[in-house]
């Protein structure tokens, strides 16, 4: 797949608009269905704070397409982060809501943007409190290439983007109160 690039001179570039996002979500759902059949052993876990919106969208579509009830949870990994006391202000926690046990389940972890990989590491660490999953897979809407700090890769990727550390991916979803679904790549001044 061709990846997208923003030159340092430009201010911002649209990565995904509403139509493209719908297509991307449909593709991700098809790929998930291919690998998970009837979803009887699968649970979906959205990562706080922003991955939950992507998880909601995926979950809704998957339940519609498969006509099955699929467990959905939200996971906050703030207390498992490795940068505590290494940043000036402690990260603010969000709600964790996993009303099921993940022991022996196939976990599909969902986040909006994969960057350094550190939050995914924290998420896998915090997941252990809810049981030992059979497998863990990762779905991300945007994969920021060349920025990984840990050996972590996504199994399902919406769009791969070549970015610099000085750039930022801005995800605006209707579920977050934005007018339209839009995902931007912007240069931090």
């Amino acid at each position: 797949m061709k990846s997208l690039y923003l030159s340092p001179g430009m201010q911002k570039k649209l990565i995904l608009d509403s139509d493209l996002l719908d297509l991307t979500i449909s593709r991700l759902c098809q790929q998930l269905i291919e690998n998970h059949n009837d979803f009887s052993e699968t649970v979906i876990i959205g990562m706080q704070p922003r991955g939950i919106f992507v998880a909601d969208i995926l979950h809704k579509k998957l339940e519609k397409d498969t006509k099955k009830e699929i467990p959905l949870g939200y996971l906050d990994a703030t207390f498992h982060r490795d940068d505590f006391r290494r940043r000036e202000i402690p990260a603010k926690a969000s709600e964790t809501r996993i009303p099921f046990i993940i022991e022996g389940k196939k976990v599909v972890l969902v986040d909006d943007v994969l960057f350094t990989g550190r939050s995914i590491r924290a998420a896998m660490d915090s997941m252990i409190a809810f049981g030992r999953p059979a497998t863990v897979e990762l779905v991300v809407l945007i994969d920021r290439k060349y920025n990984r700090e840990l050996p972590i890769a996504a199994d399902y990727v919406g769009k791969t983007v070549n970015t610099l550390t000085s750039q930022r991916v801005l995800v605006e979803l209707e579920a977050q109160g934005h007018k339209q679904n839009k995902i931007w790549l912007i240069n931090k001044d």
Binding site: T78, F79, F84, E88, P90, A93, E95, T96, R97
Partner: protein, 308 residues
């Protein structure tokens, strides 16, 4: 913003409403953590905390220690009764010696009001006041108000009566500050001898009749008679106190309205609170204890995390 305005938690007087709300929001998340099958998170993995108790405590100390362990902190305990304090060491020397062993935070209880404030001026570590004499007991007030918020949805606009030995109570003072900052109306009630003379200046209502206080309030926070701090007689006998100020199930039922009963513990059953009242459905005393761990985790997490 996810940072407290203070480096220490010395008293509720020094912190803002935003601080209290941040602690509550963080405590909500920790309450979820301590109800998981695995109740431990690794946040404070490289933090060492000393619990320095110059005064007796069961609940507070246990609650702090559990909070610290659930955050994966290293914990050392110190109690004055079997230490060099008995040999004449000063407070500052004692604490500096503990800090020399690379301790990051101090949780301290002391019989002298202002002892943690004095320490805060001289040492670099974060200090959490776990009760200083008759002055403040900030984490107790935080867990009390957190429990009210949990039960009633909000603290703002609610009426809270603090009943009993106000004069010797650090819980009362911290609660008054916390409740007022969160927009609640506060009344104190007790025999005139156990109410501080100028308490009205704090903007609280004063009532001597416990029944009137109970009729007025949504929540009654009942305090223990602190005989260990009473060096003169403030009332004729415990039996008489219990007769006039003791709260029983019968009294609560006769109010014919919903009311929440709180108590910071330890309860003197049959004195300020009868057994049937303490164990009734009105009582949220054990919720307070559970919330205490979550609230203390939040305080320690927020203080330890703010490195700037």
């Amino acid at each position: 913003m996810s940072k407290l305005s203070q480096k220490h938690l010395l008293g509720i007087k020094d912190i803002t409403r935003e601080d209290i709300e941040l602690i509550f929001e963080t405590a909500d998340n920790f309450k979820e953590v301590i109800n998981r099958p695995i109740k431990k998170v690794p946040s404070l993995r490289d933090v060492t905390i000393a619990n320095v108790f110059f005064e007796n405590s069961t609940r507070t100390r246990l609650s702090f220690e559990l909070a610290q362990k659930r955050l994966s902190a290293d914990v050392v305990n110190f109690s004055a009764s079997n230490s060099s304090v008995k040999k004449g060491e000063t407070l500052l020397d004692t604490v500096n010696n503990i800090l020399a062993m690379k301790v990051d935070m101090i949780v301290m209880r002391h019989a002298s009001p202002g002892a943690p404030h004095y320490l805060a001026k001289h040492i670099n570590a974060n200090i959490v006041n776990a009760g200083d004499g008759t002055h403040e007991h900030p984490t107790q007030a935080l867990l009390d108000t957190f429990s009210i918020r949990e039960k009633l949805g909000d603290v703002s606009g609610k009426k809270i009566a603090i009943i009993g030995d106000i004069l010797h109570s650090r819980v009362a003072l911290s609660n008054i500050f916390a409740l007022q900052k969160l927009g609640a109306k506060v009344m104190v009630c007790g025999p005139p001898t156990l109410l501080p003379k100028f308490i009205k200046h704090l903007g609280v209502e004063v009532e001597f009749d416990v029944r009137k206080a109970l009729l007025w309030c949504d929540v009654a926070n009942v305090l223990r008679i602190q005989l260990e701090r009473q060096h003169i007689k403030y009332f004729p006998s415990l039996r008489e106190y219990s007769l006039y100020y003791g709260i029983t199930k019968k009294v609560l039922d006769s109010l014919k309205k919903p009311i929440i009963i709180m108590h910071p513990g330890p309860i003197n059953r049959g004195v300020e609170l009868s057994s049937d009242a303490a164990d009734s459905s009105h009582s949220i005393i054990l919720d307070q204890v559970e919330n205490g761990v979550a609230v203390r985790m939040a305080v320690l997490y927020l203080l330890a995390g703010a490195t700037a």
